[in-house]
Symmetry: D2
Subunit: 278 residues, 4 copies
């Protein structure tokens, strides 16, 4: 008995649910959960089914492909731990939250390493017997620094996701392309408000009554990748921007961990710079 | 071309989605939205599909029934306005919110009448050209009073839902049975906390930091019917119970209107004293 | 016995609370509530006290002024109903919510009139015996149209607040200056995200997971006046921008009514394009 | 220059703010923040001021006492780290969150030890060089077990707070009295709903749409001590009670850490089984 997550992304046409669920029926699979969504505007069909039963992956894949329209994307994933690398700079809260969840067995992930441009978080990370690699950017041009970071990441072999847990350096297009669709960032504002540097200072100056955080995939437009999760908290006039920053940390860590969990469970589809989340 | 909401509630078995969606496919129907849920614990299957196409209701019903297991419940509903009667006592906020939404065309409903045990809200309701019937409980035993209320309600013919918009009288089992599964109530607390009289006073005395409201179907256990929607707001030590009551009104009206909308759109399934909401 | 709201806005200096509360003590006033805030960055002191006792307003004002630093602002307000005019266009929800609250006696306000560029809402407003004046903008340049609107507003005498309940026309600097610090707007986004036209469409295109609304005073920078209140709701991939718009209405009306209530109760201080709210 | 938190709890009388702030003024102290609250119902006055300046604690205390009514309570606290002991059982999330915050320097606390009835969390706690003491309850009557726990706690000297981070044993009145007003618990429900065992199972059975967590001081009525903080999240029909439990953990840890922070910063006053929080 094997369990599979069946992930379909196709142009919509009549009968898709019927046909795909027919494959499950023919193989006598149990459907543990099933979600579909059709985006009418773009005519795109998305489906995520979790099934278990007695069939091998190749056969199931072949059978489903036969009923899908041309150019459909099909992924069949077994629920195993994914390999992730975390990048951080100096702040402990988002990284720490992931480390504790990992330790508690909450995450379907192996943390291969933490990579940072400072050594500040090494003492925390090493407690958990996870490799910590400092790649200082001191005296290096951005491409040089990133080249070293990429070498470090690639030295760990296949990586499913790179999690930017408050990594405070801007990434070049080259880096983003190298790990396309694999980089998850936490931005410390309610995007698209306060793009760029020091969002809490910007929020304070604007006098907002709510602050937030946004987890998103990184593409080559700063702070503009597909949004995975957002959360907010109320603030008031008595908050300095430092207070907002402090309060914001609790939102940042919650949102990043939520987004990571969704990614590890294969619940996110990306299209047209937005996400479908089952 | 007709539009139908197909509502299925059955014991789960393999292939149900495949078979039902097969009926839609055979009739060449468009699936505008589709939701399923299986409750593993009770082995119950729920499905709500919105389809349009060229088929009459009887034929569609017959075809779907053929693929459903025995004892399955099937409802096929056309999206027309439902008939509702609102019951209220003296408070204006929940009733007023429904009246404005009705006036704005937000609700799939005809408000046949407002029935109250006081005449206080008559001047508001009559502005909207909706019949207002006062059935005073003064000097009447509860069964006598309810008998009159039931007569009034039944004089309006078929009623789909009775909405208790802060109707502050306890209903007898007879009343509840007369309108089984049709009565929606707003309870001014976050159930099951503070069941019974004056929940805001109870909440104040307990020193809670959050208050809420609960919309639920009414059954014969006071404040214990299936919950449809709940919402909360934060309060603090500076709130007297009157302040909580005032603040709570905004939650009450939002929650009741949300629940009513879900009911009017046939999005609620009830089983085992809980709701499945699509 | 009279009740006063004492509102102080001054440069901070040591002893201010002591001195002002000393005046209350000397006149044997009861302090019903008392709030202070010092903005350290700008060295500004804000205080709102509600007191009652046996003193006339002029005498109290004179006594407090004697203990305040130069250039301090002092307002002493009796809790009477303020005069407001509502401006709207075609949407009913925000206006309707204010009308019901007014009818229920929840607002310390007289609604002098509703002014609109369309006649669509007249049938709703006239139910409540409130004057409705349509000032069509058809065939008029913006300044001409506004001139007429200003004439209408001024015909009602002194107005404390002008509430833009989804008034969908951009105001000229002249209009804003004419009613400086008196115009409260509801913007249908979580400012500063999605400034400008059709924020729900913008929000949909950006793929956000939360939408919101912002009530703010209007100044001469579009959507950039001091923020009074903000609220949000979660959305997901299944929301079209029309769905976001529908869902957003519930937030808009709640936020606008909350902001209006704060203004009517003299709870808002404005400085440096932000608000202090007691 | 010293900084003090001045905490006053007294029967209300006219002039209290004036008199206390007069002491600050006479000593030429800076008021960094100032909050007062009068509970009208019980006629109780609460004040928390943070001041700095050149005065010793005894002198300041003496001067303030002179202006307070009889039986007033006055505490003057210097902002130093408080000593806390954490008690846990087997779950990692709430404990882990506190450990990371402690490591990040977010908490004004020394964690003297973690005490548990199991050894399961030892490997986590020992990473942070914090003593972990297992006091197994196996084969012991409750009073015997608690006697051992109390001995362990008292071996660490003065303890300001005992934090029950999902300590799953019921405490006896003797234990509660031994550490009166010092025990902070996280209860995994939105109290007063679902008092007692397995609140998530209870919540599931009741079909609620919102679950929550409550941090409170422990008194001798199970789950009935003064509430410090509460938070909730929305759930739906697709949540099994295990899913609610998982989702609830994120709320539990946030609420407990928030309550702990408030306690460490001396922001909580307790009276009449409720809290005033500045």
């Amino acid at each position: 008995m094997s369990q599979y997550r069946v992930l379909i992304d196709a142009n919509d046409e009549k009968g898709l649910v019927h046909k795909v669920s027919g494959v499950f029926y023919n193989y006598d699979l149990n459907i543990l959960s099933n979600s579909e969504f059709v985006d009418k505007e773009s005519n795109k069909f998305f489906m995520r089914s979790v099934v278990d039963g007695d069939v091998n992956k190749e056969e199931l894949s072949k059978a489903i492909k036969e009923v899908l329209p041309p150019k459909a994307s099909l992924k069949i994933v077994e629920p195993t731990k994914k390999n992730i690398i975390i990048m951080a700079t100096k702040e402990m809260h988002a990284l720490g939250d992931i480390l504790i969840r990992h330790e508690a067995g909450e995450l379907e992930a192996n943390i291969l390493a933490v990579v940072s441009n400072y050594d500040k978080l090494e003492s925390l990370v090493s407690k958990f017997n996870i490799p910590y690699i400092t790649v200082s950017h001191e005296g290096l041009e951005r491409p040089e620094h990133e080249k070293k970071v990429i070498e470090v990441i690639e030295s760990f072999g296949d990586v499913d996701y790179i999690v930017l847990a408050k990594y405070m350096r801007i990434l070049t297009p080259h880096f983003v392309e190298t790990f396309e669709d694999k980089i998850i960032n936490i931005h410390h504002s309610f995007l698209p408000a306060f793009i760029g540097a020091n969002p809490y200072k910007q929020a304070y100056d604007r006098g907002v009554k709510i602050i937030g955080a946004t987890a998103h995939f990184v593409n080559n437009h700063l702070d503009e990748g597909p949004i995975i999760a957002q959360e907010v908290i109320h603030v008031n006039h008595a908050y300095s921007w430092r207070d907002m920053q402090r309060a914001g940390r609790d939102v940042e860590k919650v949102v990043l961990s939520r987004a990571l969990k969704l990614a590890l469970e294969d619940r996110i589809f990306v299209y047209a710079n937005r996400t479908v989340i089952f």
